[in-house]
């Protein structure tokens, strides 16, 4: 019983992205701890699948980074600054982001987080410094990222056309990605009829439809419930593990231990 539980826990840990050696170590520790308490691991920890998720999450948040392959540089900011007329918004921002890494952009309101994301997207021109960025990019703006009078599948077809995907494939991929965020698009329902959180899920799905090398996200989880929020971060980690670089603007500091870089922007007029 204990041996079977042990094997299943190790297998589920690997499924959760934990390296085999680390999974074996965590499994041994768990079994030893249960033995010390004189308990059966199944009774003590519960089913291996649920305990594996807890252990894997703990491994990530305890500062033990999961080994993974980092790719080439997908975004490099060197001394980037931005001013609107005479008012400075960003000053001397630098960051190098590789494929397989996550960078969080944090800062107070007005610190220029969205401006920085727009510079990375190519919507806004930097006043100084250099921006190098991979061409295959996904982009989810904070607001107005979807067309209110189009359904989810119409969005998928439209964006799919830009990515050179066939209509059927675009809808199929879009539906699959939506499911990973816990959402099943219903036919005939236009974006304006969706809740704020579901509109944001559509926004996020559109940003990853073409499996880009770099995903730019501007606080995309607004309106998400707790479950969707967890799904979203799982999705971000999945993109990362698949080799994409992710730049996410956020103000939720408790997720920062899950990211590789934290870029804190001060208010320029306060610095």
């Amino acid at each position: 019983m204990s041996a079977e539980w042990r094997e299943r826990l190790a297998a589920h840990l690997i499924d959760c992205g934990v390296e085999a050696d680390e999974a074996a170590r965590l499994t041994s520790d768990a079994v030893a701890e249960a033995a010390e308490m004189g308990r059966n691991p199944e009774e003590f920890y519960g089913p291996p699948i649920s305990y594996a998720k807890t252990l894997a999450a703990a491994a990530r948040t305890s500062g033990v980074p999961l080994d993974r392959q980092r790719g080439g540089v997908v975004l490099r900011l060197t001394g980037v600054s931005k001013r609107y007329r005479r008012r400075p918004v960003l000053r001397d921002v630098s960051l190098t982001l590789h494929g397989g890494e996550i960078a969080a952009v944090v800062g107070a309101n007005g610190a220029g987080k969205s401006t920085l994301l727009n510079i990375c997207a190519g919507i806004t021109r930097a006043s100084g410094g250099t921006v190098e960025r991979t061409a295959r990019v996904g982009y989810a703006p904070q607001q107005h990222g979807v067309a209110p009078l189009l359904t989810a599948s119409e969005h998928f077809r439209l964006f799919g056309a830009v990515y050179g995907m066939g209509a059927r494939k675009a809808v199929s991929v879009g539906d699959h990605l939506a499911k990973q965020l816990g959402w099943r698009p219903r036919p005939g329902v236009v974006a304006s009829q969706l809740s704020g959180g579901t509109q944001q899920k559509l926004n996020v799905v559109l940003s990853e439809l073409n499996r880009p090398d770099l995903i730019l996200l501007d606080e995309p989880y607004q309106g998400f419930d707790q479950h969707s929020y967890v799904d979203f971060w799982d999705q971000v980690l999945t993109w990362r593990d698949a080799g994409a670089g992710v730049l996410v603007v956020t103000h939720l500091l408790h997720e920062l231990d899950r990211v590789d870089h934290v870029l804190e922007l001060p208010r320029v007029d306060e610095s």
């Binding site: 997207a121 703006p141 107005h144 990222g145 067309a147 009078l149 056309a161 990515y163």
Partner: protein
């Protein structure tokens, strides 16, 4: 599916879901037509201006409403040219649908010697109005300001002395020539004047609106990172 075609199709779908707006696009020219139905020459010209106003307003709202999503699409690789002409095609298609209805209305309610000229008059009006609305949306990217600007243009179009040289600077001056050719026993020179004015106006409006739109939508060219 090409981006141009995809944008056109989705724009038509979006427009078709604004049913009340479409109803007004259909009714506005009727009001203009009925006001002058007793004077055939003027009824035709007013109808054309009503069509022009309705289609230009539709184009304005279509382009302003799509601005943010078009910006997003251009960031991920869509050509700003395809986005612009895709939306223009959609507005023109809806406008041509509207004028088809009015062509039948005119054929049934007026004794017009040159009915084909009416079709030309209405079609050219749509093809001037669509880029006119797009140009206003590019210069004034807010709906209220744009709608007021179009109101001013159309009011001026109605009020300006048609014999004055300033009238030729108005976007729908060609409607006067084409309406005269359709109704009155005038020479082909009026037809030529109208078609020439239409061609110059449509090309100028479309080229300017396209140029401004591309400048607004084109993302900053970012070099690939050195490894």
């Amino acid at each position: 599916m090409s981006v141009l075609w995809a944008v056109s199709v989705t724009s038509i779908i979006e427009l078709s879901r604004r049913r009340v707006a479409l109803l007004f696009v259909l009714l506005l020219p009727l009001v203009f037509y009925l006001v002058r139905i007793d004077v055939p020459w003027q009824a035709l010209r007013f109808l054309a201006i009503g069509v022009g106003w309705a289609v230009a307003t539709l184009a304005l709202f279509s382009h302003v409403g799509a601005r943010r999503i078009d910006q997003r699409l251009s960031v991920v690789g869509a050509s700003p040219t395809a986005l612009f002409f895709g939306r223009q095609l959609a507005v023109a298609a809806v406008g041509l649908g509207v004028v088809l209805v009015y062509f039948v209305v005119v054929a049934l309610t007026q004794d017009v010697p040159r009915l084909a000229a009416v079709a030309l008059l209405l079609a050219t009006t749509v093809l001037v109005a669509a880029p006119l609305g797009a140009l206003v949306s590019a210069v004034l990217p807010r709906e209220l300001e744009g709608a007021l600007a179009l109101l001013s243009v159309m009011a001026l179009q109605l009020l300006v002395d048609p014999e004055g040289s300033f009238a030729k600077l108005m976007p729908l001056w060609s409607t006067r020539e084409l309406a005269a050719y359709a109704i009155e026993p005038v020479g082909v020179d009026r037809l030529e004047n109208g078609v020439l004015h239409f061609a110059i106006t449509a090309v100028l409006l479309a080229a300017t609106a396209w140029g401004v739109s591309v400048l607004r939508l084109r993302p900053v060219q970012l070099p690939a990172p050195k490894q």
